[in-house]
């Protein structure tokens, strides 16, 4: 229950605290004890994996717009925008989760849990289904 966002002002306050930590890195390093460097490197690689996911989504947005000229324009633009916005959200979330994990490790707390991977996977499943249908049935504009 320590780090789980609570509804209402509690969640807002904890989000604001996280954003302040983004811009004041020395405050992370003041808290708690320095964990084994291998754990911080693992956290860094997880951050990088999320950043690659984010870049892949952004690249996918470009690809949908460039390589699917035969589907209708509104559908194409919607798919591309959803992918680009998803990529942007993923990048912001990557930094936030990295900061939260770093802090939790220094304080010796449990790592933060998150619904984000589930939500992202479901969104991608829906997007892929729409893309397959659009290409298969050639929803021309």
């Amino acid at each position: 229950m320590i780090d789980r966002p609570r509804p209402g002002s509690g969640a807002l306050a904890s989000a604001a605290a996280n954003v302040r930590l983004w811009f004041a890195p020395q405050r992370i390093h003041e808290e708690g004890e320095t964990p084994d460097y291998r754990f911080t490197l693992a956290n860094e690689r997880t951050f990088l994996a999320w950043l690659r996911t984010s870049l892949a989504l952004v690249g996918g947005g470009f690809a949908v717009d460039q390589f699917l000229p035969h589907i209708s324009r509104p559908l194409r633009l919607t798919l591309a925008l959803v992918l680009l916005v998803g990529g942007a959200l993923c990048a912001v979330r990557a930094v936030n989760q990295w900061v939260r994990c770093e802090r939790a490790m220094r304080r010796g707390e449990d790592l933060p849990i998150s619904r984000f991977p589930t939500v992202l996977a479901l969104l991608l499943a829906v997007l892929s289904a729409v893309l397959v249908l659009a290409v298969a049935f050639g929803w021309a504009g």
Binding site: H29, S54, L55, F62, A63, D65, L84, G87, A94
Partner: protein
Amino acid sequence: MTAGARDGYERDPGLQPERTRMAWRRTTLSCAVAGVLAARQALRGGPDPLAVLVVALIALVFLAFLGAANRRIHALATARPPALSTRAALATAACTLALAALGAGLLR
């Protein structure tokens, strides 16, 4: 790797610094792919001045990413590397956000 001997530390049998450096390389490569797709998007209507400006911006974003990654890769070339700085994390995320924003502006 001779870094372990140089620093007087045992090398990590799990090769964590090495793996982290390669993760940075992979991520830089992903950024290059996204950047190339973005540049292709910008140049679809021919090389007019605005498109060239956008391509130059994309190149700057990629160079910023490459710079941040290279600094980190150099910092990781020790047996006990320091933790990633928040500034580097924010810089790489900001580059990704910039590419997404440029892409949204290039949709047509």
